[in-house]
Symmetry: C2
Subunit: 315 residues, 2 copies
């Protein structure tokens, strides 16, 4: 059964090395077979056992190792105890699992000298992510990017998602038609209960009300939100609000619309290594533009954003 | 009972004339009383009977007329038969009702020489609008703006929504505490079934899953989407892609990221009076940037976007 053409598989160089995050579920198994069939040679299969499903977890790992071997790809297997990390750090299961995966992928990246990681997220994942981020009240509409550079342990890791516009059912349909097997119920550390409810309760209800498959709508909305981010980045660059010493130049900043001032300040703080940036924090920072306002604002991590002589800077 | 301070009521000049769209429902009745209590003198109450609820519609109109008289405001009442418009034009009920309201408000605007219209939409309306636009697959995340200029019958009508950050329950609670009455079930031409399902099925389900009141999250997301629009407008202006004849300058356009090219072309087409712009149409227009691509693209209304001598223009 021919698979619908995906531009990524045509465009990417076949001899380039890629890490591939493979859980053993249908999506990542499809990704791996597609890589193989399109002639990609230098794929490193990376599987992290989250230790969440006891013996089934171990079987998942064995399944992925065998699959990698059958395709002639090397396999890196890791094991972690996400629940223990969660207990120790007070993180949510989702956060602990994500951090464990990132640390594992960073390890694989160093070992294989490969900064590129392929992930098998598809359109249905994207729709759930968009909804979930919307419910959590994250800034604007945000979905996953087809290309995204993560900073993990101080090094960049380029994540690519070649399947992001494909539907889950199409991937499974193709696997079945090709008589390829996968592991069901593979855990990937997502908040299973929430994901399941979004998938089985919310999306069908929304599709019923809208009388259309709303997954497409959500994926499209995520796409145009990515466009917004590109335009915002261009605007921040164009605004050119840094002085030669890399401090924020207040007279320039004051000529911009408030919304772009916020984007510039957000960018400056992030580039200065401030983490845990909230909308409220950026708004408090913007109050420094007013000469009658406070001369400094405290930031997380004991740092301070200060106004002096027409400049804002980190002190 | 003191009402939470709303910046709009403090900032707006009390002697300025405003039209107010008043259906007779709790939200618009609250808006009208708040205007009165804050000392606004020049309010013109505008009520359109959509003719959708028979005798109840007429009672709504009488209620609004009496309320206006009791507050000393003039009242403009109009009547339309939205279902007939719907049949004649093949529009949806929502579209027919909206167009009837806009035409009526434009009439009131001319008669009273007032380009400002106040509308009583609140945060719960905003959350439903965000969800509904998301489900319909509109571009990006879009909600209602606190300030929005509508072009109605070729003239600008400035819509303002002073209650947009307030919650429905707070408005009703205030009315009840003040022993002020309103009309229940006032129809405003929205797709009642969809709105009701979003309100009574979707929002409670989402709040249950997220374990928080997601209305706040949706309103916040709409806000940051408005910020995006401001930044996009700034970026389009900054990109400065028109030549002295008002045509799109291709060499300039080609220096921009694809996403901003799309925004510039969208802006150019809209300013040229092209209606019914879809994402697909803009993408087809962008194909003209490629000198090996087609030299012209057909637009709705028999118009043509053409490439010649390094320019794109309407022919």
């Amino acid at each position: 059964m021919p698979f619908p053409e995906i531009a990524w598989f045509q465009a990417a160089p076949k001899r380039r090395r890629f890490l591939a995050g493979i859980s053993g579920g249908a999506d990542s198994v499809a990704l791996l077979h597609l890589l193989h069939r399109h002639g990609f040679r230098e794929v490193v299969v990376c599987h992290l056992d989250h230790g969440l499903r006891g013996r089934a977890s171990t079987s998942d790992a064995r399944f992925v190792e065998k699959l990698a071997a059958s395709l002639g790809y090397p396999c890196e297997s890791g094991k972690t105890d996400v629940r223990a990390v969660m207990r120790d750090h007070g993180d949510s299961l989702e956060t602990a699992a994500r951090e464990a995966r990132h640390a594992f992928f960073a390890l694989c990246s160093r070992k294989h000298r490969c900064p590129r990681l392929l992930l098998a997220h598809h359109a249905d994942d994207q729709a759930e992510t968009v909804l979930w981020n919307l419910l959590r009240g994250s800034r604007g509409l945000s979905g996953m990017l087809e290309n995204q550079v993560l900073q993990v342990a101080g090094r960049p890791l380029e994540c690519q998602r070649p399947l992001l516009l494909l539907r889950r059912d199409d991937l499974r349909g193709w696997l079945s038609a090709e008589k390829l097997t996968w592991r069901e119920d593979v855990t990937n550390g997502k908040p299973i209960a929430v994901r399941n409810r979004l998938r089985h309760e919310v999306l069908p209800l929304l599709s019923d009300i809208a009388r259309r498959d709303v997954t497409e709508s959500l994926v499209r909305a995520a796409g145009s939100s990515c466009e917004h981010r590109v335009i915002e980045r261009w605007a921040v660059k164009q605004a050119d609000v840094l002085d030669p010493q890399g401090r924020l130049h207040l007279p320039k900043l004051r000529t911009l619309p408030r919304e772009l001032q916020a984007a510039c300040l957000y960018d400056y703080l992030r580039n200065s290594g401030v983490t845990g940036l909230s909308r409220e924090l950026v708004l408090r920072g913007l109050a420094l533009l007013d000469v009658d306002g406070p001369p400094a604002v405290n930031l997380p991590g004991g740092r301070v954003l200060r106004r002096r002589a027409g400049r804002l800077f980190m002190a």
